[in-house]
């Protein structure tokens, strides 16, 4: 059996009297795309915030590549290789594509053998290679992020995390703000990532989007994981039934 990239066991997260995540187990394998589905308030976002270090679970364990880990803040999650692609995307809009990809880890060169200056050529070329590897087509990497579309921005944010060795991407509603054409491109990008060994957790209300990329689905209701299905062995009717509770789950 293949080793899991990420495994969470018996996670419980409470907010006062409310149990937002109630004893959830989940496994993700390398290169796998897992969709988490559920209605508003089902606990999807809370669960991924526990994984990305934003929240601390009261109980439960997290394992990364078989090692038990403790993620106390988002920076630690990043260092481990867990990166969340946020809605606001955490890009500096006033800067160009390659500067964003290298932000905080700029490549420097010596000017006149003395002073460290930015090595624009290197950063531009490396970024080009990265975008080509992910089959992303942005006409000029010297474009400011401000001039890019929502899908392009998402692609830049993803390229940035992959360039810096992210192993697991968490995408929260990645297609929500996009038009039809762009939505398809982002979903294609998710497939490309998966084929290159990057694992992806995708959360979305757009059930069809999740069906088109995820191999496995995890359905949550009122904080509990109610069912887990292989995408090819289920259909949207069943999944909707599980989400709204008209079908009984497997675990209750």
């Amino acid at each position: 059996m293949m080793e899991t990239l990420l495994e969470v066991k018996n996670i419980i997260k409470r907010f006062g009297g409310l149990t937002a995540v109630d004893n959830v187990n989940m496994q993700i394998f390398p290169g796998e795309v897992v969709g988490i589905l559920g209605d508003n308030g089902a606990g999807k976002s809370t669960l991924i915030k526990v994984i990305s270090g934003v929240y601390h679970a009261e109980e439960g364990q997290i394992f990364f590549e078989g090692q038990k880990i403790k993620i106390s803040n988002p920076m630690e999650a990043l260092k481990i290789g867990i990166e969340t692609i946020y809605q606001d995307l955490a890009l500096a809009e006033n800067m160009n594509v390659y500067s964003n990809i290298f932000l905080g880890r700029e490549k420097l060169k010596k000017y006149l053998g003395l002073i460290n200056v930015l090595d624009h050529d290197y950063m531009l070329n490396e970024s080009k290679k990265m975008l080509n590897r992910l089959e992303i087509n942005i006409p000029s990497l010297e474009n400011k992020i401000r001039n890019l579309s929502g899908g392009q921005r998402q692609a830049v944010a993803i390229s940035r995390s992959i360039y810096w060795n992210a192993r697991l991407l968490i995408m929260d509603e990645p297609t929500a703000a996009l038009g039809v054409a762009e939505r398809g491109k982002v979903l294609n990008l998710v497939k490309t990532l998966s084929s290159q060994g990057v694992s992806v957790i995708i959360i979305s209300h757009q059930i069809h989007d999740v069906f088109s990329v995820a191999t496995r689905l995890l359905i949550m209701r009122r904080g509990k994981k109610v069912a887990e299905r292989l995408t090819k062995k289920t259909n949207t009717d069943e999944v909707v039934g599980l989400i709204v509770g008209s079908l009984p789950g497997d675990y209750n």
């Binding site: 988002p74 920076m75 990043l78 606001d88 955490a90 890009l91 500096a92 809009e93 006033n94 800067m95 500067s99 964003n100 932000l103 905080g104 880890r105 700029e106 420097l108 000017y111 002073i115 460290n116 200056v117 930015l118 992910l134 089959e135 992303i136 087509n137 942005i138 006409p139 000029s140 474009n143 400011k144 401000r146 001039n147 890019l148 579309s149 899908g151 392009q152 692609a155 762009e182 491109k185 982002v186 294609n188 990008l189 490309t192």
Partner: protein
């Protein structure tokens, strides 16, 4: 795929360079309308006259790019001028040689001048005080301390060589006689002194050396890159591992360093130290930065733009004096240019439009 409209592209390019075109237009206008406006002497006068605004605006550029503002620089000039003047006078009275007294005065002002910048940065970055409030507080504090140091009276009787440094030029040229570096040859007749041509004021040289260094830092280095990133998206910068708090403290220290430098230049130029020195230039400095293309929301601006903005004000001021127009008209003109600058910034379409993307 991309449908560039050539004509509008050229139009946008011109609009983007409007400050430079405006500056050249100003010089041409005053050269024709004024008397002896386009002369070496007058152009050098403009540069010397603009030193305070140039220095304050360069430091302010860094702060404004991060999305902040530094109001304290208005009275930091006076503070630094009285500190350096006081140290020079006291040390000379205590029997130190003039060069040593002057050097110590300059160093004292530069070192003490970093403290308000550090406090500003600390308040803004660590304690999350809005920059406007933090630096406005420091504005009053700097003025108060300056008045205490000089006991409410301007400091005069500075070492005599302050003047020769502050009013000196890099080159002196007497046509067909000599060309000398830094000093005027002795034993010149009165007639010869009249014909003497002085080239490049010392103060301008010092000013542009510092501006040049910091223009390089902003445009070419990691420090500059992080300054833009903080102004563009402070959360993104933090997530990317930039030490935002330390960076902001450094940026406010750069601003107060330039204000201190302006105070020292004031002492060298006017051979006196005054608490209110330079306070009138605070708004001009902010205006120069904005005319130069920076946005008060942060993330945008360049030192070259700021220099252009500063010179637009300087050229206009001397031009109005030259034409005999009362200088209060300057405020009207500068106000109009400022509003125009902001309008151009807001309505100029982006050069690069959204393009098709395929993944």
């Amino acid at each position: 795929m991309i449908n560039y409209n050539k004509r509008s592209e050229i139009g946008i390019r011109i609009l983007r360079r409007w400050t430079l075109i405006f500056l050249v237009g100003e010089i041409i206008f005053f050269s024709i309308a004024g008397t002896n406006y386009f002369s070496l002497k007058n152009l050098q006068n403009i540069l010397v006259d603009s030193i305070t605004v140039l220095l304050l605006a360069t430091g302010e550029t860094f702060v404004i790019i991060t999305g902040g503002i530094d109001l304290s620089v208005g009275f930091m000039v006076g503070f630094s001028s009285v500190v350096s003047a006081k140290v020079m006078v006291d040390l000379e009275a205590a029997g130190f040689s003039q060069p040593l007294a002057i050097t110590m005065g300059i160093l004292a002002a530069l070192l003490l001048g970093l403290i308000p910048g550090f406090i500003n940065g600390f308040l803004v970055a660590k304690l999350r005080v809005p920059p406007f409030i933090a630096t406005f507080g420091m504005y009053g504090i700097a003025y108060g301390f300056a008045e205490i140091i000089c006991s409410n009276v301007p400091i005069h009787n500075l070492p005599t060589s302050v003047g020769s440094l502050g009013h000196g030029y890099l080159f002196y040229w007497l046509p067909r006689r000599f060309f000398s570096f830094l000093s005027i040859p002795e034993n010149l007749t009165r007639e010869e002194l009249k014909q003497l041509i002085s080239i490049i004021p010392n103060l301008t040289v010092i000013t542009f050396i510092f501006i040049g260094i910091f223009a390089f830092i902003l445009a070419k280095t990691k420090f500059g890159q992080h300054t833009y990133a903080i102004g563009g998206n402070i959360n993104a910068a933090e997530r990317a591992g930039v030490n935002v708090q330390a960076h902001l403290i450094k940026v406010y220290m750069i601003s107060s360093f330039f204000a201190s430098l302006a105070g020292i230049m004031y002492v060298l130029q006017y051979i006196t130290g005054r608490a209110p020195a330079g306070s009138a230039y605070l708004l001009d400095a902010v205006v120069a930065v904005v005319i130069g293309g920076a946005s008060l929301y942060g993330g945008k601006g360049t030192v070259v733009g700021t220099i252009t903005g500063s010179l637009i004000i300087g050229v206009l001021e001397i031009g109005l004096v030259n034409l005999g127009i009362p200088t209060f008209n300057l405020h009207i003109a500068v106000g109009c240019i400022l509003i125009f600058a902001v309008l151009v910034d807001q309505f100029s379409p982006e050069l690069i439009q959204k393009e098709e993307w395929s993944a």
